[in-house]
Every structure is written in C-alpha cells, then in structure tokens.
Subunit: 306 residues, 2 copies
C-alpha cells in the first residue's frame, strides 16, 4: 500500500469529493426549501435537478479553492451551491426537446421528462436567478465588494460571452456544412464548459481576497482543467456505454458534433488532455501541500470512468 | 389649453416616455454589441427582443425614481436597461410553444418565430445573465454595496419567489379544476408582474442611497402601480383588438386564465384599478413636484389604449 504523503492524499480524493458532494447537497437543500402553494412544483423541479446528482466537480473546485485561503466553509458552500445551480440550469435547458432532446441525465429522467417542458424551462430560469440571489446575500460574505465580484465573474462566465454563447456556437456548428477546425473547437469548448469551471476554481480566491497572482493561478488552473475535462468527456462519449456514464453516449459522432476527439482521433486527444493536466498542475506551483487535492483532481478528470 | 403646472407635466408624460424609450434603446444597443463569430446569432436574437419595442414602463420607472435623487443619467440607464433585459427574457420564454405559444409580440413575430426555438431559449437565458453582469459592473455605481443590493433585489423579484414563481402559479391555475379566488389571483399577479415593477420603482432609490422611508415609498408606489397595470392589461385583453395592442387578445377568457376581470367583471375590476392608482399616488406624498411624472404615470397605466 502506498503510504507516501501523495499516496495518502490520492486515497482521500474520492472520499473528499464524496464528502463535498454531501455538504453541497445539504447546502442546496437549505437554499431551496419547499414552499407552500402552487409554486411548490417549481421548487420540486429545481431540487430534482440539483440535489443528489453529479460529481460536483465545480462545487468541489470552489470548496478546495476557498480552503487555500481559509475561507469559512459555510461561505464557500453557498458559492459552491450557486455554481452548481447555474450548472444544473444549463443542463436542464440543454436537455430540452428544442435543444439536445435528451431523456436521461445523471442516470435518471431529464427534468422535462420527470415534470413537463414548461416546468423545466421555468426551473432552469429560476435556478439561474436564485444563484445570483444567493451570491448577493450578506451570508455569502460580509464585504459587498466580494459578493458583487462573484456576481460579475459568474454572470460573465455563464452569459452570452461564456456558457450560453458556447451553446449557441455548438448549435451553429451542428448545422454548418464544413467541420470546425481545432482553434474553433477549442474556443467553443472554452465558452461552453471551460468558463464555468474556470470561475469555479477562481471563486475561492475571490472569497479569500487572494492576491492577484494567486487568483490568476487558480483561474488558469481551472481553464486547463476545464479543457482537459471536456476532452475526457468526449473520450467517454466515444468509448463508454450509457450505463457506465448515466447518460446517452456515442451521440457526438452520430450528431456530427464538433469535438477534438472527432478531429484528432482518440490517441492524440488523450495526449492533449494529459498535456493540459500537466499544465494545470504547473499553475499550482506557488501553492503548498494544501493544494494536493487540486493536483490530484487534475489527474482524476482524465482518468475517471464516468 | 391647460397651462397649469400639472397640465404642462401631463402634456409632457408621453414625450418623457418616448424620450426615455429612446435613451433606453441606445443603452441596450451599447450593452449588446454585435460580436464576430457564431454567437452573433445569439446577440441578434437578444437585440431583436429588447431594442425598439414596448412601452418601457419598467425602464421609465427606474429613470424617474433615480431622478428623484439626482442619480447620474448614465447609471440610471444601465439599471433601466438591465430591468428591461429581464422583462424581455421573461417574454421570450413565456411566448415559447411549451408555454403560451404566442406568434406575435410587440407587433412583430415572437423570438422563436423570427429565429428558432433553441435560439429563443438561449437568448432569454443570456438576457437574464447579462442583466446581472450589467448591474455588477463598476460603471453602474462606484459603491459595490449599491451594485450588490441591486442584484439582490432584482434577482429576488425575478426568481422563484417572484416572476418565475408567478409564471408557475399561472400555469398551475390553467390546469386547476376550480377557479382561483381573489386573494390567490392577487398573489399570482404580484409575483408574476408586480415584483418586477415594484423593484423598477425602487431601483432609483437604491442607486440614490435614499433614506429607508423614501425607498419604501417608491417600492409601495411600484406595488400598487403594478397591480393596477395588470388589471388594465387584462381589461385590454378583454376589450381591445390585437391590432390595437400589438399582441393576441381575448386569449385569457379562451384559456380560462385567472384574472380579476374574469372574476369581478369589467366594471368592478376597473374600479379596483382606480383605487390602486389613487393609493399609488398617495405613496408619493412626501415627494415634491419632481415626482409629477410618476403621479401621471399612475393615471396613464389605466387610461392607456395599448
């Protein structure tokens, strides 16, 4: 058994992620209480799509980033929950019939299948709004400049020059006659999934009022991690079964989706992901042992099986 | 010709609203620049649904509220534009086939008719996100506590305990077997349209760091105005033609929609709207002549023809 320091940390990554997921679920449960009245259905749909599902990669990044600067766990959990709400909203809307038309998500029926289309549209809308309420409330941080900076960075990452812009690019790419080249795919994925992962890694530094170089280090770590994660996701789509990953697979090739795996082939794409992971780890050079889970997380995103 | 002070102001309300609408359009144009690349389509759809349409009631409320406290016009216009983005996003999503399935809005094809459903979903999503970016940016106000308070109030008004919650209630009411009673309709409309109008009136006081009583006065003015506006809207739906109002009419009765007009009848609903308008004006008692346009606006919302 590997009992070196790194070995002990490696053993604890899955445990730390499971623990974080549990704490994030508890935070989401508290932030989305079931109300009386007709809007209860809306909250049920919001809870259905956020609580008890997913790896919580983004929330885990918030928590680990915040831990580097000794931010209170309660504050970090609110921000982690807000980021996961934005992520969940994007998945609900992506799964809609007018978008990717998916029936399965995180191993269970998608929101519009479990409820209906109108409720799913509204649940997505409300999760996005509620994420900004949570960030703006005083419980998140006593300093208003910290709270408003979190709103500014998360809204930019999620908006038309971030996640939603990337989703639009993805739809345009499917309809285009010529396939995208490597820089275009890289940009699409940076916007669609990268920016949100980047801001998740950066958020702890904002909460901790970190010096600019450390904040940037986490931001760049998040960017490389996000790019590696996307390639790993596409590799899983190309090689794994739906049962293994809890959602439909093999869809990208079928839909002619623009992915680096499709463009470069499985082996070269895997090499590129490994290069990105090494680069992500390099950004953490100025951090001490406390960042070991973030280092291991970089390896994990390309080794994962689901 | 009525040349009393009130008469002169009355003459200038339509002019002031037209002027404000023009300035808000210019602000939206600047805040939604057309980018290069595939996401240009997203911005086109966002622009299509925000610029050059609507009465700008909410934006006008922001501007007039801000004027009471000598807030810079540029700051007030950013907040007015943000509120109009949130309003436009809600209209885009409400018009979707899975929701109200409307083809006509503000006298032109709805967003999903002019573009497509996926683009309309994304344009709505992105308008909401971008509104919070605009509020959070330093150009809106040098004091971060003002900016974050704007985010907090607008997100609460638009979220699951506000606008989106009201939309959910509306859908539930259509599917319910028993009609809603008066308090339930009042609550539905307060959430669905009232909260956003309320926060529009309050926003200028937040920007102007007004004392609590004045801020509350504008908030309560907005609440009564919003309730009166909703009844007027339902009266128009019951009595006007589509050509007159630029969207489909007579739909409420057909869809069995829960409105006070349906419950109370046209005459009693009109009386209630007049009572609300008088109450809205009363809230402005501590304000001087500068608030005359807000007083006239209260009369206007129930006298308007579209």
């Amino acid at each position: 058994m590997d009992m070196s320091a790194e070995g002990v940390v490696a053993l604890s990554l899955p445990r730390a992620m499971a623990q974080a997921a549990e704490e994030i679920d508890a935070a989401l449960d508290a932030l989305l209480p079931r109300p009386e009245g007709g809007e209860a259905r809306l909250f049920e749909a919001m809870r259905y799509s956020t609580i008890g599902g997913g790896k919580r990669l983004r929330g885990f990044l918030v928590l680990e980033g915040a831990r580097q600067f000794n931010v209170s766990r309660q504050a970090a959990l609110r921000v982690a929950a807000a980021v996961e709400m934005v992520h969940a909203y994007s998945l609900i809307h992506d799964d809609l019939p007018a978008m990717d038309d998916d029936d399965l998500r995180r191993g269970k029926p998608t929101c519009h299948k479990a409820f209906d289309e109108a409720t799913a549209i509204l649940a997505g809308d409300a999760l996005q709004t509620h994420a900004f309420t949570v960030l703006a409330e005083e419980e998140t941080h006593p300093d208003p400049s910290v709270r408003v900076e979190l709103v500014r960075r998360l809204s930019r990452a999620a908006g038309p020059r971030g996640m939603v812009g990337g989703q639009m690019l993805d739809i345009m790419a499917e309809q285009a006659t010529a396939p995208l080249d490597e820089p275009a795919i890289g940009r699409l994925q940076l916007l669609k999934t990268g920016k949100l992962i980047e801001v998740s890694a950066e958020a702890g530094a904002i909460l901790g009022k970190a010096a600019t170089p450390q904040r940037h280090a986490l931001e760049f770590y998040g960017r490389d991690l996000g790019a590696a994660f996307q390639i790993a996701d596409d590799l899983l789509d190309a090689t794994a079964t739906a049962e293994e990953v809890g959602k439909a697979t093999g869809k990208d090739a079928g839909a002619g989706k623009a992915t680096l795996v499709g463009l470069l082939g499985i082996e070269r794409a895997r090499l590129q992901a490994e290069r990105l992971v090494a680069q992500a780890r390099d950004h953490l050079d100025s951090f001490g042992e406390k960042a070991d889970l973030l280092r291991l997380l970089a390896d994990y995103v390309i080794d994962r099986r689901n």
